[in-house]
Amino acid sequence: MPAVALLVFREVLEAALIVAVVCAATRGVPHRGAFVAGGIGVGAAGAVLVALGAGFIADLASGAGQNLFNAGVLLAAVAMIGWHVVWMSSHGRELTQKMQALGGAVKTGASSLRVLFAVVALAVLREGSEIVLFLYGMAAGGVGAAGEAAGIALGVGGGALLGVALYFGLLRIPLKHFFGVTNGLLMLLAAGLAATAAGFLVESGWLPAWGGQLWNTSRLVADDSLAGRTLGILIGYKARPEGIQVAFYLATLVALVALVALARRGLVRGSGARGAIAGGATVPAVAAAAVGIMLIAAARPAAADDFVVYSPYVTATQNEIEVRGYRVEDARAGLRGAAAAELSISRGMNAWWQPEIYLVRYQRSAGSGGLQGYEFENTLQLTPPGKYPADLGFLASYEHNTAARTSDAVEFGPLLAIKAGRFAHTVNLIWEKEVGAGAGRGYEFRYSYAATYAISSRLRPGVEAYGRPADRAYQAGPILAGEWHLPRTFSSLEYRVGVVLGLNAAAPRLTSLARLEYEFF
């Protein structure tokens, strides 16, 4: 009986947590109960059918059927949740207002209910089919019916209880923030499901693992602990994620955040069938595109770049003191212990030219480190901010390297920035060429991209990506940036911290970066 209870509990818990979050997120929609019950019923019936047809499914796609089926179910749930999140962001405010005015149920579109129904059914179907197969085996093995029934009851009860607890816990969130929180939770949940789907595709050999397991936090929270399972569903926690899972997670999250922002500005509407399909399809499409673009496998460990995304903007008469650095976490020779730090000062000479002098450039690699020399960098702002869809700047710099066996270098290239509402995108395309005695031939190209979303000026979460085709190194990861105006002064502090992960085998596994700027007039 304990074995039955434990397995049933684990599977029910996962479905119950998903149902709880979706239920909370559709708070205030009438007839919700009927749709949840219907979803559970259809899901359970589907689970039995899937278990009965397990042999047939397993044989599909030359043996990959089971994995493709699992990944398909998960990605369908991701699309549904994506649709709902987009729909909520164009209707959530009005829903909150009506709920506050009427103190309860409001009449809203039926699209939300269909999503609720589908997500509940998919969650129950996936977890349920495993329970059915397990119980079938148990019955075949001759476990007593009474013991089995007690185990099922215990497992279902325990799992459902935790789901109910989560639901009521969520309801305690003040109404003002309620849909913001549940929407955020749904996005993380969807990103986690996408990462799990990626895992199934790797398992069947349909996707590469991208460097295998990137990190291991199982000593902190193990995947098979209760906390691990709960976090695994709610925020997509995985103790040992593979590179491609991290990529799917981030791609889904970025796509959802972008769609929500567009929906808020009325460019995408979650209501109506066409909008829903467009919204639902964009998420996996973007994820797949991101995967396709970044599909590069290489073996040679690669050197690092500056890990900074330059802004094309110049502010006349503004002075700046900047400290920045990065640190690589990778045990491979040539990457082990690599780190760098730089100190620079700059001033906006006029509205379009900002020279910057790097006084200290420290670099360490493979155990030995030292000062590298100086750099004179110029940012030119070529277009007035906001005049064109994209703001254009140009970077031109000269590096004087004093360390042994190094030559001087020039660096140049366009800097692009696009601002859309609270989103800011910055793209740098940089060419580097060594000059002087002993200089290498040819231009080395690298690019970088940053996207941030301004919750407030102090808090701008986002992502940064770096590509160095010459090194065959591609990295991306989350960052947090912000600006803090010092009260009663004309000065401010700007910060930027983040972690970028290697997307292919040759890239450094993990690079942490930080930048602090003091700006004053």
Binding site: A140, A281, V291
Partner: protein
């Protein structure tokens, strides 16, 4: 839903073809008999991708699962499945049969 399916299926097929073209990966075999894995420990090379064929000789289904290397797949009675694993760092990774956790336990030794 059609555009959604197409948006998923096309890149997947392309990727699948690309992976298939990448060459043969080494295969190891695990046999489940009387709810026990045979062999109980499997030695594989670190830093390479490989596949494990899990053969279920029992009359009841089993789920080949590992939280250490993140895999789960149901193996029906008298059937086999193939699971791609790795590349893994050197170390010991446990796997188990989710339907018979008390008996079906094994280790992957990666060197």
């Amino acid at each position: 839903m059609k555009s959604f399916l197409a948006s998923i299926a096309l890149p997947m097929f392309a990727l699948g073809a690309a992976v298939a073209a990448a060459g043969e990966v080494p295969e190891y075999t695990l046999v489940i008999k009387h709810h026990v894995y045979e062999p109980g420990s499997l030695k594989v090379a670190a830093g390479t991708r490989f596949k494990i064929r899990v053969v279920n000789e029992d009359a009841s289904p089993e789920e080949f699962e590992s939280t250490d290397f993140n895999r789960e797949a149901v193996v029906l009675p008298k059937r086999s499945i193939v699971v791609y694993v790795g590349p893994l760092h050197a170390g010991t990774y446990r796997f188990f049969g989710d339907f018979h956790r008390d008996t079906a336990n094994g280790r992957l030794i990666v060197e």
